[in-house]
């Protein structure tokens, strides 16, 4: 490896026959800058019209692609000024590379021509994109409903072991992260509640605060979000990779529905696991809250348990579990939807994964808002 040295200055000589000879000398290994073609143009303009451009390379040392680019610029200059370009005066290897770079015409036959779209075209294409995206989601949901119908009639094509595998992936394997996050949420809620409630001598109500907030809202929503980032993303990546490697097309060519075989087991697994995960998350959050209440407010464990059981009604508990199960279906659907919509290259898998997480979290939060409004209207 050699150090790059500055480009040597160019020297010019005008010959008797009108030929303009450009002397290239020294090493042309500079990667910072090349001599401006304007210098050559200015020299050509001096002292009358030149008939040809030739090169003197007797002093030329080592060179790299930069020299080729400079010579190609000289060739363009000669073409624009209708001056003969004497490529034969270059060293053979350099001349060959110059000829090679100019020999292959740009192919246009198999490529889509990229045109700068007009404003209205952009608006139209965006609208079409939104419409086709919406139709894609509707079609995917429709296919899933048909698949559920087939499953109810015992006609869906899927393997039980795939359901068990997905259950393991979204259930037991997610316990650690679900426990950690919900434990911290319980701690935080209790800590914030304790500092406020203790001032009014109502510290014992920390148990009510943690229990209701966890069971009704935080347990299911946090578990949904965690699974969206973990399992939903994994679903999208798995199906996206299968799309890239044509495994999904292989199902289609056998007449086997990929929705039956790939999406249904994942939905069933989430429906089976989410209620259990929500229950687990609720218990862990309550435990976190109890630790803060016991250590900061010195609340008796029996009293804390009593207040917790008193605060959580069966309706509140079932509401949390139902919401969690619904969020589980959302996670499975968004993960699988983005996986099935994945393109056929490696970058598309990353995009599908990101899109699955963003769509999933947004849908969960929006759906929770709708649940809140509905519960208020139904006085639950």
């Amino acid at each position: 490896m050699s150090e790059a040295t500055p480009v040597s200055p160019l020297t010019f000589r005008r010959e008797a026959d009108g030929c303009f000879r450009l002397a290239l000398s020294g090493d042309w290994l500079d990667r910072a800058h090349l001599p401006s073609i304007e210098i050559v143009a200015a020299e050509l303009a001096k002292g009358g019209t030149a008939t040809a451009l030739a090169f003197d390379t007797t002093g030329l040392g080592r060179w790299n692609s930069g020299l080729i680019v400079f010579i190609l610029r000289c060739a363009d200059l000669c073409q624009s000024q209708r001056i003969e370009f004497r490529v034969e005066t270059l060293p053979t290897s350099l001349g060959r590379l110059i000829a090679l770079s100019q020999a292959v015409p740009e192919r246009a036959d198999a490529a889509i021509t990229l045109e700068q779209p007009q404003f209205l075209q952009k608006v139209g294409e965006s609208a079409q994109g939104v419409w086709s995206g919406g139709m894609g989601i509707a079609s995917f949901l429709g296919e899933n409903i048909l698949t559920l119908g087939r499953m109810a009639r015992g006609q869906a094509q899927f393997r039980g072991q795939d359901v068990l595998l997905a259950m393991q992936e979204c259930g037991p394997q997610a316990l650690g992260i679900v426990a950690l996050i919900n434990f911290l949420i319980g701690l935080i809620m209790a800590f914030v509640g304790a500092t406020g409630l203790a001032r009014f001598g109502a510290g014992v109500y920390v148990a009510d605060l943690v229990a209701i907030a966890s069971v009704r809202e935080m347990g299911c929503i946090m578990t949904g979000i965690i699974l969206c980032g973990r399992t939903g993303a994994a679903f999208a990546a798995q199906l996206g990779t299968m799309k890239v490697s044509q495994e999904i097309e292989a199902f289609q060519t056998f007449g086997i529905s990929p929705i039956d075989f790939l999406v249904l087991p994942r939905i069933l697994a989430m429906v089976a696991m989410m209620p259990l995960l929500c229950l687990f998350a609720d218990l862990i959050a309550i435990l976190g809250g109890f630790l803060v209440a016991a250590s900061m407010l010195h609340i008796d464990p029996g009293l804390y348990m009593h207040r917790t059981l008193d605060a959580v009604s069966l309706t509140t508990f079932l509401l949390g579990i139902c919401k969690g199960t619904f969020f589980g279906v959302v996670v499975a659907l968004t993960g699988c939807l983005r996986g099935m919509q994945c393109g056929t290259n490696a970058a598309a898998v990353g995009q599908a994964t990101t899109s699955a997480v963003v769509t999933g979290i947004t849908t969960i939060v929006a759906a929770d808002g709708v649940f809140a409004v509905l519960c208020n209207a139904l006085k639950i």
């Binding site: 198999a110 044509q246 495994e247 097309e249 060519t253 007449g255």
Partner: protein
């Protein structure tokens, strides 16, 4: 054939005879794989239809299309084996879905199909545990699972070394002669084209049409079209006399 407003190919008209190896050839990006996708039900043609035994494929009801798909076997460019299943499970899955056979019979048939392609003893291997060439052969075994009438191959030689590629060509000829199945092969491998092809169509990206069709050797010897000759001689020399490779 088109993607959005971009027309890939138009006015394609060709006939595949039962029991022949039909080659779809042409340069990169000319629409060979797109045509194959339309033939195997993965992409609907913009206009026109594909006819099997005189019946239109795309104009028929979805149930009939599903039924027709079961008479197809497809070998994808990458093999496309289901990565979460063993080779035997890959081959056995279509049998489990479309036959009433007991598990033991399905396993026996899967073993037989794998043995046909030289993968005896690899039944319990996963696709990630075998080489690219073996993946291709396992893909072929899966394509043969339902004893198809027509086998479609997308770039079967892609990613294979010359020996594996030649062995795959031999296997295709062996299966054509022994099973009497029809083969539709998308390829631009000249050695394969001349070795296995009974009839070929040449798709040209420039004119976006079928530029030539016939027996590959006949096309090589008799075609006066410079584009076809350049393709079939690898552009080495259009003027020099060309000798087709020997039949293996």
């Amino acid at each position: 054939m088109s993607y959005g407003s971009f027309v890939v190919m138009r006015d394609i008209n060709a006939r595949v005879k039962r029991g022949e190896v039909f080659i779809i050839m042409g340069g990169s990006g000319c629409g060979k794989s797109t045509l194959l996708r339309e033939m195997i039900g993965l992409k609907e043609p913009t206009r026109g239809d594909i006819y099997y035994d005189g019946s239109p494929f795309w104009a028929s009801p979805p149930e009939d299309r599903q039924k027709r798909l079961r008479s197809f076997g497809v070998l994808f460019q990458s093999g496309a084996l289901w990565s979460s299943m063993t080779l035997a499970e890959n081959v056995g899955l279509p049998l489990g879905e479309y036959t009433e056979l007991p598990e033991s019979d399905i396993a026996e048939i899967a073993r037989l199909k794998l043995a046909l392609v030289g993968l005896k003893g690899f039944e319990d291997y996963y696709p990630s545990q075998i080489s690219g060439g073996m993946n291709k052969r396992a893909g072929l075994a899966r394509a043969l699972a339902l004893d198809p009438d027509i086998l479609f191959f997308d770039e079967p030689s892609a990613g294979l070394d010359p020996i594996s590629s030649r062995n795959l060509d031999r296997l295709i000829l062996e299966l054509r002669d022994s099973l009497g199945a029809t083969f539709v092969v998308v390829t631009h491998e000249l050695a394969s084209i001349f070795t296995i092809g009974d009839h070929a169509i040449f798709l040209d990206a420039g004119t976006r049409s079928v530029r030539a069709q016939g027996h590959p050797r006949e096309l090589l010897l008799r075609s006066t079209d410079p584009v076809v000759r350049e393709f079939l001689t690898r552009g080495d020399s259009v003027s020099q006399p060309v000798v087709p490779p020997p039949v293996i």
